[in-house]
Point group: C2
Chain length 258, copies 2
């Protein structure tokens, strides 16, 4: 209940970004190369600008950390984390698995998270401290049970982007899992929260990549930590495990540490 006004804002942010992204989807965009070589489009920038305008008007005291335009209001007690397009490669290829990610962070912990897929019309909204914590298009969702890693359907976006050591550790897990689905970006975490996947593992994520995912996964009854089993908070390493069932999570931690 405490977070209801902020959830309303988060929904407005997602609406504004989605309007921009639907307009640019499957148009032939100029793709630029950023310093880190990820493709960036005008859609990315416009969507973040649209979200920032809402926050500057309605939450002037809050800070903002955005993928495209960086930090404003540094030192604010609470801040919003914005990733207008998570999965830019999918977006520019016309695949509707990218998403807009929106998180509200208080005391270093994300307390609201939104994963919005504006083409398919799928929006996951998660919050901490309420039950049910996560809804997909307004309907409460829940992770599914899975007795162990050997039965787990695993997903990851792009393991070749892992560090060498991370890649080797990931492959120990992937070999022990039932199967591995590649690609998918933030959408995989939404599918896990809705009980269609058992496990998502990634490495090298930045704050704007993972912050929104945590309330969605936890609010659906799942587990999400770093690769050492620590809760994710501002400053975490960006190596993440999301699992629907804590038996799977425990096995993954043991397998990564081998």
């Amino acid at each position: 209940m405490r977070l209801a006004p902020d959830i309303a804002i988060a929904n407005r942010l997602a609406d504004a970004a989605g309007e921009v992204l639907r307009r640019h989807f499957r148009q032939r965009l100029e793709v630029e190369a950023k310093a880190d070589c990820s493709p960036v489009t005008v859609a990315d920038r416009e969507a973040e600008a649209a979200m920032r305008a809402i926050l500057e008007a309605d939450r002037p005291q809050d800070g903002i950390v955005g993928e495209e335009y960086g930090v404003s209001g540094a030192g604010a007690k609470r801040f919003w984390v914005l990733d207008p397009i998570d999965g830019t490669r999918a977006f520019i290829a016309g695949r509707a698995t990218f998403g807009t990610l929106i998180a509200l962070v208080e005391q270093g912990l994300p307390v609201i998270g939104v994963i919005d897929q504006p083409i398919a019309g799928e929006r996951w909204v998660g919050q901490l401290g309420e039950w049910p914590g996560t809804r997909l298009n307004g309907v409460p969702v829940r992770v599914r049970d899975c007795p162990g890693l050997a039965r787990a359907h695993l997903a990851t976006t792009h393991p070749a982007a892992f560090s060498a050591a991370g890649h080797a550790a990931f492959h120990r897990v992937a070999r022990a899992a039932r199967d591995t689905l590649l690609g998918g970006d933030c959408h995989n975490y939404g599918l896990l929260a809705a009980g269609h996947l058992d496990l998502v593992i990634e490495e090298g994520l930045k704050l704007h990549d993972w912050a929104a995912l945590v309330p969605v996964v936890l609010g659906a009854g799942g587990v999400m930590t770093d690769w050492r089993g620590e809760p994710l908070r501002v400053g975490s390493s960006g190596a993440v495990i999301a699992a629907g069932d804590r038996r799977v999570h425990a096995e993954v931690l043991a397998t990564l540490a081998l």
Copy 2:
């Protein structure tokens, strides 16, 4: 024009399969393990059965090669190739990049191909010998130009499933390409035909995996061959290259052969 009655049949097959698949999508299906370890669901079987019933009634002289129920009418002059769910992993995870694949083969060559994504409502229909050859939901589509591999957006579903030699050769190409999008199954070839991707490379495909893709890619002005540059026909190795621009295709052939 000659193929118009068969295209009408192909559309009816896709309609019938889509009706089954929409009913089962994101339900919690029992997933069985097949001999080759790919997950198979009741949806797969029902969708193929629905398509076979139409062909048996309306094309009794034609043969059928289906992923689930095998060959009927062996020795027929023309035959239909059916893959009710290409991308079963995506399907069971609730990701709408799987597709139903339908091809009509005459004299060893696929002359009609359908890629149908029944959740997003996207259907590519390609045919040889007409221009425009490929339509997406009825609208003609065309590949895009790309001057060379360094500018090419590459996609592949799961390179870890390649042979060891194939994996090494693929990675030479991937390192030279602009970027690589993973996952996506047959949907990647539709995106290439519509001008959103430049290159798709896979290995180890079976006839039912690739037959429908060829008319879609060729009909949109693209190139699709095996890894030695030979046209794909019944009996091909299952190592495929689809490119929107033949300059990219030529560079890929040279890079694979290094």
